[in-house]
């Protein structure tokens, strides 16, 4: 009898046997692999930043190290460096506005993580990168010049800020897809301006002009920040363009 019961149980189990389900693994994978979270999006955006940004940043930093190793630090070196830093602003800003340059903004705006979030992500990533490079350079210069940190920082970063402001100003006002060319033009101008200034006023880094530098720095920083905010606001909506067919 006991045997029978055990067998019965087995037979009953078999009686209710169903054809093997085929989609179990796929289903389980899908559930374990839930929709990507915001952090995944952010990380993937890092991957989509073009290599030129990383390359330029590294070169700049390494170049600074090499320069300091081989040559004596002088005001000329500081000036050269401050003229080269704007190039990082150039690549960074053109990276941030890449969607508009390549006519991807409409598509991106309709996605779950839309243009606004993409732009903020890029801004965040590039902001951190730029900041790291600047701080890195300042650290490297530690004690090697007569200038204090703040003063050195101001000398190095002001042309960079000028570039930022100029580029963003132009991008925000010109309805143009040629954002990259604009940025390039601004960078060239900044370089020229910087050269003229250095050549024209030999003692530009002395105490005499400290106030000038300080004020310029602050003004440019504030203006740049305002332009960035303006740029980000624009990513929330497609700009009405009456030349497009409605």
């Amino acid at each position: 009898m006991r045997n029978n019961l055990k067998d019965l149980k087995r037979e009953l189990k078999a009686a209710f046997e169903a054809p093997t389900p085929t989609r179990k693994n796929e289903f389980i994978n899908q559930l374990n692999d839930p929709k990507a979270r915001q952090i995944d999006f952010f990380i993937s955006q890092i991957g989509y930043i073009r290599k030129r940004v990383w390359i330029l940043s590294s070169l700049l930093f390494l170049g600074t190290l090499a320069g300091l190793y081989f040559y004596k630090v002088s005001t000329s070196f500081v000036w050269v460096l401050s003229s080269v830093l704007p190039f990082i602003a150039l690549v960074s800003i053109s990276e941030i506005v890449r969607s508009i340059t390549y006519n991807m903004e409409e598509l991106e705006m309709s996605c779950k993580y839309n243009l606004l979030e993409i732009s903020l992500a890029r801004l965040g990533i590039l902001g951190i990168t730029n900041f790291t490079v600047l701080i890195g350079i300042l650290l490297v210069f530690n004690g090697k010049t007569d200038f204090g940190w703040i003063r050195l920082g101001i000398y190095l970063i002001t042309p960079y800020l000028l570039n930022c402001y100029g580029s963003l100003f132009a991008i925000n006002r010109l309805k143009s897809r040629e954002a990259m060319y604009i940025c390039g033009g601004v960078t060239a101008l900044v370089c020229i301006l910087s050269t003229l200034l250095k050549v024209g006023i030999n003692d530009i880094y002395t105490e005499r002009y400290l106030l000038f530098w300080g004020l310029t720095f602050i003004v440019l920083a504030v203006l740049s920040a305002k332009e960035i905010v303006k740029l980000i606001r624009r990513t929330e909506e497609l700009e009405w363009n009456s030349s497009l067919t409605a």
Binding site: N4, D7, L8, K13, A14, A15, F16, E17, A18, P21
Partner: protein
């Protein structure tokens, strides 16, 4: 979240297949059951997770009946499923089982095929533990009667 999909998928699938007799539909309903289960964040229902899971499955199957009986005619007329069992020997048992009342069939599936506990079965079928025992015995009795003892091996 004490339900493991790995463990319960086949069980729920077997249950759904028993009710709808179609492989694809059974699998669809199984997946839907799990999706619904995990969506529900109310802890009131989580008290007896397994029972809750089966209840979802049961309701989905009922919804499916309603939809399909409108379109295709009643399920009963669909006849036997076309699944060829590997175990030819228990054809007799299959026959005997299919002649039982539906609620007893379901009971046998839950108890012997899916190996659920008496408590869980009571929750799912919304009857008392006592009723579960009673019905199980009745089912087994009916089976034995229709098969005759000698065939039970």
């Amino acid at each position: 979240m004490s339900i493991s999909i790995e463990d319960q998928y086949d069980q729920i699938y077997r249950y759904c297949y028993f009710k709808v007799k179609n492989k694809e539909i059974a699998e669809d309903l199984t997946q839907e059951t799990f999706l619904k289960y995990f969506k529900q964040s109310s802890y009131i229902n989580r008290g007896k997770p397994l029972a809750y899971l089966y209840t979802i499955a049961k309701n989905l199957c009922i919804d499916f009946y309603r939809k399909s009986s409108r379109e295709e005619g009643l399920r009963e007329e669909m006849g036997e499923s076309d699944h060829i069992s590997q175990f030819e020997t228990n054809f007799a048992i299959k026959q005997a089982v299919s002649k039982l009342p539906i609620d007893l069939q379901e009971l046998l599936l839950l108890r012997f095929a899916n190996e659920l506990g008496i408590n869980e079965i009571a929750s799912i079928m919304k009857i008392s533990r006592f009723s579960v025992y009673r019905k199980l015995n009745k089912a087994l009795g009916l089976l034995k009667a229709s098969l005759g003892e000698e065939d039970l091996l």
